[in-house]
Symmetry: C3
Subunit: 492 residues, 3 copies
């Protein structure tokens, strides 16, 4: 009696309206299989275990370390005396926290739309699973080659997840308006550009950006915003009634928010130097986020309708403190400095949602579904600036021997701290440039009418790419008939 | 067509009934901003990185450790020879588990109410973000001062989360009947009293309470119960129809339950001594919880209506085993001892929900929304008693050199084990006294009609403080019209 | 007005139809209490802390290690010099990830059914809490006895969770058609057989199976499939309308899927040797899963209705890569090898859901609710075969000194690598035999009409064992009356 296919006559009607061009039967399998086969071939040719994951290499290191033990004082990081010194134990817990942010955090954060939950979690899952493999190769090309091979281990896994994060930020900007094929094509190019930009920043310019205020957030946001600008849909208001949340979808989104919030300290500290650096970065981020949350609640109540809190602010702006601590988190920002940064980020972010987003949409034709400009764009730029300033004022008095880990070139005396600040500022400019130019090109590429993008009337709707079961009401269809009769009896 | 504001005429009606006094436009921003600015000032004046997070201090320790390496056998904890010995690696995974319990666990556990999910997760988020900052200061004042400064690191982050846990327990007692401003005011005072009580117990009385059966659970529960008693609402039954769950809200609550259950071993072991102590505490808690779960299912079926299981019991009583292992978990309680404690805690907790809560509400006028008396109150007292007994029977034969970590004063020979048991018992009494007196005072303070508390008719309702989107039915409004016509056709 | 008990007249009708025999008032409490009391007695007699959790033993090891420090080069694993070398720090983070998979992963994965969410999460919780205690004893009998006592620590906790995993896989096969009493009886026997099979494979045959492709997945799947075959219900289609998902239930299920997917690297690596082995296993699994996900999306679109993605595939088949990397994950499978394995697993799994499951149900009368044959059965067998082949081609050239950790008998020269491959293949055959014979016997035992199993008409329905609150529509009952009138006005 309750056949899912028959349950939604209106949706089926819509489905008929769209017909063949959004059908994924050939397009999606072809791109998935071609991409995965290319990945497999390239991994086969290029990728190897690094010396912490390779059985022979690790045991060579281990035996060598043991033999030389009596000749040295202390443990230089390159000497290994115990299985317990494998980097797995000092990076993997952070990796798993980052992994949760990528798949649960981003995935569920975007489920706020009433009928786009399958796509939010599901496409997030698909493009993340692709991007992390592709990023392993791209990042490996640029800074992991050893004798013609890319060596991988837990640190490259974290970096691949980081790169994936940037793609998911861009996904937030175009959410609801793109087909999975379009998203995979976007990911191919964005991952590549990310790796180039990261290489320029970290290896050529010598900037520091452990938590990715620039490389991840600023890049991902402005890339995605440019893409969504190019893909501007003048008639998107035909899908307006789908482009909002319902009660339960907002609760699902809070799962994403809270996981992002909780694990952001692990995100920012995941690839910083071991010891005080990881410890300090996690703590700075923790206090930045806490301060940001109070700012967000305060600003939401003061700006929103009737003094009521707005879920959009809570779900997003409360996270801006993590973004803004992404560059300076590993520096001696101090707890109070972190709190001030988080506090400002929360204020800016809520103001962005309230006042800037409508302007961006109306004047600049940027249809930013998740408001990534407010969560990743502006707070990312803030984070980059804070990083530049914090770097510029670094002194040996404050950092001691720890300067080597945070600013190695300053510690060596090659450059001054102020010059490190300049590097940071240039890096921000480069990132913005790469994101805008890259987004422009990729946006036009994605405009080609071959990817099965949804028509303006059926954006923000799972039904177009997913077999959607009858919703809760289907089940009650029968019951409701009964209840209605009761109601009618009461009314009669 | 589907304007959220117009979607719920009845709720808007209610909203009009309440009017200005529950409006948060000024009250919430003012308290959020004032509190955060005070926090920032105090952090600026008082708080510093500890020597595991400070770049200079850590590297001084590290270099000193390396130099002295050849002079010593073994690694005393104060000597550092490697970045890997930073406490970050031995506390941070536990910290993240605790963090998940505080924000996801407590937050979602309270989403069981049908129309209070935004507030449950959202106010939980707000007061936790505030409390952890305030707790850093308060706990620092009482036991973290070094030369006029509070030194912070991962251990203080865990302790701040612990203190926050007590506030969230009290939140459970008053859930649905308080404004966010009231909750923040409650948190200010409760965090302060928590820090005083903790200082008395751990530093003055020399009690052990690593998982907080006394400091967190007993204190939080009886404080909250006293507050809700003072805030007694004789006409609360006007909101009775909102004070229950729906199918999906119970599933959301199970997310909270399961996370609390899974990570409780990390909670109880997060600040115990390194080595066997953390290991043993986690394992004791694991078995206590498992036994508690079987007791809960058995008791729920035997007491509940028609032999059916009651979600309230499963969501809450299954956790009592973690509470009850909070004090004795680090001691040589043995696996079987842990299971007996968990088993008893589960039985007591279900009986409390079934028989005691109605009496408390009717006779003592304690309106305990989440039943924190059954989950945290009684099991907390049980845990304190088990801790006192286990301490009293401790012998060097059982603990060996490990006595130093668990009962340092007994190991030094300053006191006997029985006296340690007496200390534990006194600590329970002090905690109960502090909670009751503190709750009484704070309760009366919260009674002032200035905080925008909800009227009796609109308790347990998000709409009063949140912009609530149309729920699932809104979206189907249009569809339903169609379906109804179909139904009518069928009926005709 | 909104009394949950009165809210669903149809369901109440069903309830009356079933009457006393499914009533759990006595059956469930009796079995829960008897089992827990037996567990407590056996733990009291047999179980002790191991030397990493026992205060005295650990400190003896620690002091001994420190004294002997100057006499040795390097740290053999048996020498302990620091509290930080307690295995807690090198296993517990993996344990917690596994724990999340067992309770959140499996629990929520099964919430896809529209009206069986309480039972999915709730019975998962109950039987897991029982199984982990019982598994501690059973696995301890077979390979953890020291002087007549079972010694336990974090590694035995992981193993207990692993064994529980197998029971939960079997639960997936019978989901919706069994009472909690039946499930507990099944768990008693399955845990016992699991421990026997594991002992034969790992200790007698000398096979390797760290992630349990054979011991957990193949065993759990074919055991469960045999049980559900024996419990065949010819009239199950009377409950067909309940045996499907709704929109939100599919989103809840995605929580389970994503957690399983994210933490599978921790699962496969949780009990492998320390160092490169854990590191490599986690990374192999990571890439296997990523490749599997792309295969799943491609296959789902190509096979499913109208080129749309099918949630059943995404929720399940995307995980097959983790299952298939369960045996070979710790070996030198290489990243590309892992990707190929995952890719094949995803393809096989989707094809199974699409074409094999209907045949199994119609021809072989195997009613496999969750399709465990496609997620755990076939991918488990694939994983076993991949493990056998990978073992057979192992060379000292590739493994170096690391051969000792992965294939100790090959490293010692006792057997050749090819013979290790034969061992692996025999282990698969033994596992299949144990699962089928065991499932047959236990299936007939569960057929006895004494456990309160649901009648054919009320399968896949929480209401039979749980007090179910009115669902979302109850709350709106009143509102809807109002809205209907509005609609009618519009229509008029």
């Amino acid at each position: 009696m309750v056949e899912p296919q028959q349950a939604s006559p209106l949706l089926n009607g819509e489905e008929n309206m769209t017909g063949a061009e959004t059908n994924m039967r050939l397009k999606l399998p072809i791109i998935c299989f071609i991409l995965e086969i290319i990945l497999i071939i390239l991994f086969g040719v290029l990728v190897q275990y690094d010396d912490e994951t390779d059985a022979r290499e690790w045991h060579n290191k281990l035996n060598h370390g043991n033999k030389s033990h009596s000749e040295h004082n202390g443990h230089a990081e390159s000497e290994i005396h115990s299985e317990y010194e494998n980097d797995f134990y000092y990076r993997y817990p952070s990796f798993q926290d980052v992994h949760v942010m990528i798949f649960i955090g981003f995935g569920f954060l975007m489920t706020f739309l009433q009928r786009y939950g399958f796509s939010s979690v599901g496409f997030n899952f698909l493009i993340a699973a692709f991007s992390l493999q592709w990023a392993t190769l791209m990042q490996g090309f640029f800074h992991g080659m050893h004798g013609g091979k890319i060596h991988i281990g837990v640190e490259s896994m974290i970096n691949a997840d980081f790169c994936t994060g940037a793609v998911l930020i861009s996904f937030g900007a175009v959410l609801g308006k793109t087909s999975p094929v379009q998203l995979l094509v976007m990911a191919i190019f964005e991952v590549t550009l990310f790796a180039v930009n990261e290489f320029i920043l970290l290896s050529i310019l010598g900037a520091k950006d452990a938590g990715g205020s620039m490389t991840i957030h600023t890049f991902g946001a402005y890339f995605g915003l440019t893409v969504t600008r190019v893909l501007y849909r003048p008639n998107l208001d035909k899908s307006k009634h789908k482009n909002c949340s319902v009660y339960h979808s907002d609760l699902f989104a809070m799962i994403g928010t809270i996981y992002l919030w909780m694990f952001w300290p692990s995100f920012n500290s995941a690839v910083t130097a071991h010891g005080d650096d990881q410890h300090r970065t996690a703590m700075n981020t923790y206090y930045s986020l806490a301060a940001c949350t109070l700012a967000t609640y305060g600003m939401s109540a003061v700006t929103a309708h009737d003094g009521k809190l707005d879920m959009v602010h809570i779900q997003n702006a409360a996270l801006a403190g993590g973004v803004a601590a992404g560059t300076a988190g590993e520096m001696m920002l101090t707890p109070v400095g972190s709190m001030i940064v988080g506090f400002l980020a929360g204020i800016i972010s809520v103001l962005g949602y309230k006042y800037l987003s409508p302007i961006l949409e109306e004047k600049l034709k940027v249809q930013d579904t998740c408001g990534v400009h407010n969560l990743h764009g502006m707070p990312g730029v803030l984070g980059a600036i804070v990083g530049a300033v914090t770097a510029a004022v670094a002194t040996t008095d404050v950092y001691g021997k720890g300067m080597e880990d945070v600013f190695p070139d300053v510690a060596k005396g090659d450059i001054t701290a102020s010059y490190q600040g300049v590097r940071q500022a240039i890096s921000l400019a480069v990132t913005l440039g790469m994101a805008l130019v890259g987004g422009l090109i990729v946006g036009f590429l994605l405009k080609l009418p071959i990817y099965g993008a949804p028509p303006d009337t059926i954006c923000f709707e799972d039904n177009i790419y997913w077999e959607v079961p009858g919703d809760d009401d289907e089940e009650d269809h029968k019951d409701k008939a009964v209840r209605m009769t009761e109601t009618e009896r009461l009314n009669a």
